[in-house]
């Protein structure tokens, strides 16, 4: 980091802190003034939800060292729990707040159910189990037509309701759809920031230390009185619960649970890609990874597709002309390059190495 940047870092941070929550209105202002809809506000909500999901996987893979290939299952369970508990065709209708509380609990319970009998399996076996669970969940959701409405998905999911005084206050300045957008933006932002703080605390706490110790040497950790199975199960269920929370936010943002095939194996792999690109076990890396991946999907890819199609003209219906079709090729290439040049990810966790020499200098 250059000295100038370092000097201005607090200023930048403060600016971010003030401006970021105002993003929905800034984008609206941009639209009003320039007449272009960038939809940055929508994209940024998706990025944040994806970052929450990646944090969940980071707890399981990055911290606990459990190779989990079915995170999309818990994401889907969170989304569908939200759907079942809020849509008006079912009698529960708990609303957004109730769903936000229940979805992580239900997803966490499924995590416990899956983890309890399988957590003692060694790495690759657990990967197979979770992979199977991920696919199984998708197919089960697809086939439980009476419960989940099969391929149609559950909708409409009600939007979060702002307190009346706030809504009345904003109503004077803003159109209603903008207020709804701001509400979900703030809620997702709060969830993400809260989780980041929680994870940061976890890293420095007894539980975090136990996880690091387990990752380094499971046998010795056991001999030091840490129960490997219980600790890993807690982390696994915790990750599942956070994925459930992400699912609840996702479904609320979309206003539908989306079709079950959204939550397929490639989704799980994409979250894993995000971790590896950002830096496994690094909080800032995870957020950066989510930003990079989703910006590629939602900003770079459409722009390049448009450019390609303008160039190709008449041949624009070809599959090669759609940049989204290049996605996995590019991700794969990026992963290989990462492994070769930056195995720790784009923004790896800080090395805490204390060199005896520098210590003597100080």
């Amino acid at each position: 980091m250059s000295p100038a940047l370092r000097r201005h870092a607090p200023l930048v941070l403060v600016a971010l802190l003030v401006l970021y929550p105002l993003l929905p209105f800034l984008d609206w202002a941009v639209t009003a003034i320039f007449g272009v809809r960038l939809q940055l506000d929508r994209q940024i909500i998706n990025v944040m939800i994806f970052a929450i999901l990646a944090l969940a996987l980071n707890l399981q893979v990055g911290y606990a060292g459990l190779l989990q290939l079915g995170i999309a299952a818990f994401f889907a369970i969170g989304a569908y729990t939200t759907g079942i508990l809020t849509v008006d065709k079912y009698p529960f209708q708990l609303g957004f707040a109730g769903a936000l509380l229940c979805a992580p609990v239900v997803a966490g319970l499924f995590g416990l159910l899956l983890g309890a009998p399988t957590i003692r399996l060694r790495g690759d076996y657990l990967a197979i189990v979770t992979l199977g669970f991920g696919e199984m969940t998708r197919v089960v959701i697809l086939n439980l037509e009476n419960i989940t409405d099969g391929p149609r998905g559950l909708n409409p999911i009600p939007e979060p309701v702002l307190p009346d005084w706030l809504r009345d206050g904003l109503d004077r300045f803003l159109p209603a759809d903008r207020i709804d957008l701001a509400a979900i933006h703030w809620i997702v932002l709060a969830a993400l920031v809260g989780l980041l703080i929680l994870m940061k605390n976890l890293e420095r706490s007894r539980a975090g230390r136990a996880l690091v110790a387990l990752r380094e040497d499971e046998l010795v950790s056991g001999c030091m009185g840490i129960d490997p199975a219980r600790t890993k199960l807690t982390a696994f269920a915790g990750g599942a619960a956070i994925a459930g929370l992400a699912g609840a936010l996702y479904a609320t943002n979309l206003r539908t649970t989306a079709e079950p095939n959204t939550y397929d194996f490639s989704y799980s792999i994409m979250v894993l890609c995000c971790l590896i690109i950002g830096g496994l076990g690094s909080l800032r890396g995870v957020v950066l990874g989510a930003l990079v991946l989703l910006s590629f999907d939602n900003l770079v890819s459409p722009l390049l597709t448009r450019a390609l199609q303008e160039q190709l003209g008449h041949d624009s219906t070809s599959v090669f002309a759609n940049f989204a079709n290049w996605r996995w090729l590019i991700f794969g290439g990026a992963l290989i390059l990462m492994m070769r040049f930056r195995p720790g990810g784009l923004w790896p966790a800080r090395k805490r190495e204390v060199d005896p020499a520098t210590k003597a200098d100080a």
């Binding site: 419960i147 230390r209 001999c223 030091m224 204390v354």
Partner: protein
């Protein structure tokens, strides 16, 4: 005579054909330094691994402080197995009963009319009906169907709920009539009808005879078919309960003696080839050793923090209740106010608790760090707290491993070749450290090749050869024992 701290009785460890430890009996008295020596491959480390729960002994018992080191099967465990079994059984039973149809019957059919609201009691009743495979009335697209247990609807649909329900009520009578001659008769107006010969009531009618025959057959077959379904579901529940209980019990049986449970019992160990958490600092290595103690402290602190908050919430709630009982006003507003107020109080209490808990956590963490520093200082690692374990010099790594084991606050410390690879001056320091550990009230069980360490520190020594104990006694006795000399130096061939 004081009872032994560790009592190993007739311990045998076999790996298929290989007997690593052969009927070894040892007893370590509290407060002594006991050494196990023997040539390479004599089974010393295997003995340690068995004691600390890494290997399960083939035969024999290990008792620590008079208790078997295996976790006892308590009533709590038994209840846990039962609950696990019940959970698995219910899951399997629900899936055998078709969770999709069950949902439809229990939730969708009891919420046919959103304006009428939803009564959980009706849903419960529907759940009971469905699981017991009773025929029921279902509404689909505005019409009412008498649905048999398997979801079939041979009776067609009705326009009104009452009509469908009367059909449901007639089902047993219809089953009785099925075998009866003349129950099915032609109508004067054409078509056929089923008429109850006792009451003369017309139970069903249709232009087609075979439709009515099919309905009679369905009504007749229903009780037996439903009973079979009930059996199947019951069997699934039973199978699940057995599977779940057995599974939980099997996991328990396999984990009765784990390194963790042994560590919790008060034994700690070091390893022959140093196994530190290499990427952690010296201080963190110790904090991992203190994990259990910190967990207990944290729980106690949280409990202590939660109590005043709960008391406060309880007191406020009762105050509000009292005030409300005196006030006369619209009941709805009163209740709402109560709910809001209670919610706020609980919320505030929660925040207070969380705040207290996190403050406590910070205090506890600081306290733990101080304790860890002190412990590091006692093994001679003061000033190296923040160094990564892998960067420490070899002798310091050995010391750090001992300190980490001590951090678990053991009553028995097992040291596996602590002097291996140490230079003479480090060895002297180590001997002093071992004596200091004994002074702290920790009994030491030691494996060592370094005779100076063994003879200079131990109170008693046991000698293993090929897994068998060949001698036991004080250092002087061992030094003079001809079998020991033979094991180490070989037998003198004469003649």
């Amino acid at each position: 005579m004081t009872p032994p701290l560790l009592e190993i009785d007739n311990l045998t460890l076999r790996f298929r054909g290989l007997t690593a430890v052969n009927a070894v009996s040892l007893s370590v008295l509290p407060g002594e330094i006991f050494a196990v020596i023997g040539p390479n491959g004599a089974g010393k480390t295997s003995l340690f691994n068995t004691i600390t729960g890494i290997y399960e002994p083939t035969e024999g018992s290990i008792r620590f402080e008079g208790k078997d080191l295996r976790r006892a099967l308590t009533r709590r465990h038994a209840v846990g197995f039962g609950l696990t079994g019940l959970l698995v059984g219910l899951l399997i039973a629900v899936f055998v009963a078709d969770v999709d149809k069950l949902w439809s019957a229990v939730v969708k059919q009891t919420y046919r009319d959103p304006s009428a609201g939803w009564q959980p009691s009706r849903a419960w009743a529907a759940l009971g009906d469905y699981l017991a495979a009773r025929p029921r009335v279902e509404q689909r697209i505005g019409r009412y169907y008498l649905t048999l247990h398997d979801g079939k609807t041979p009776f067609g649909s009705s326009k009104t709920l009452a009509e469908a329900e009367s059909r449901l009520a007639d089902l047993p009578r219809l089953a009785q009539l099925a075998g009866l001659e003349g129950a099915l008769a032609p109508r004067s107006s054409g078509g056929f009808a089923i008429i109850d010969p006792v009451s003369g009531r017309r139970l069903d009618e249709s232009p087609y005879r075979d439709v009515l025959e099919a309905r009679l057959a369905a009504a007749q077959g229903e009780p037996a078919a439903a009973a079979r379904t009930r059996w199947r579901r019951g069997l699934a529940l039973l199978a699940g309960v057995i599977l779940g209980t057995a599974g939980a019990a099997a996991v328990f049986r396999q984990t009765r003696r784990t390194p963790t449970s042994v560590a919790h019992a008060g034994l700690a160990r070091t390893f022959q080839n140093i196994r530190l958490f290499r990427e952690m600092t010296a201080l963190e290595n110790l904090l991992v050793g203190m994990d259990r103690k910190l967990g207990q402290r944290g729980r106690a602190a949280r409990r202590a923090g939660a109590r005043p908050a709960l008391l406060l919430a309880g007191a406020l709630a009762s105050l509000v209740l009292l005030a409300r009982a005196g006030a006369a006003g619209p009941a709805v507003i009163g209740t709402l106010a109560l709910v809001v107020l209670l919610g706020t109080v609980v919320w505030l209490a929660r925040i207070a608790t969380l705040g207290a808990a996190s403050t406590a956590a910070l205090v506890l963490e600081a306290q733990a760090a101080t304790e860890a520093r002190d412990l590091l200082a006692t093994v001679g690692l003061a000033g190296r707290e923040q160094m990564l374990a892998k960067n420490l010099p070899y002798g310091d790594q050995r010391r750090l491993e001992i300190a980490r084991a001590l951090a678990t606050e053991p009553r028995l410390l097992l040291l596996d070749e602590p002097a291996a690879g140490m230079n003479p001056s480090e060895t002297v320091g180590l001997m002093q450290l071992i004596r200091d550990i004994r002074t702290r009230g920790v009994t030491v069980l030691l494996i060592e090749h370094h005779m100076r360490v063994v003879m200079g520190t131990s109170d008693r020594i046991a000698v293993l050869e090929y897994g068998t104990k060949i001698a036991e006694g004080t250092p002087e006795e061992i030094r003079a024992n001809p079998r020991v000399i033979e094991a180490y130096l070989g037998k003198e061939e004469l003649g």
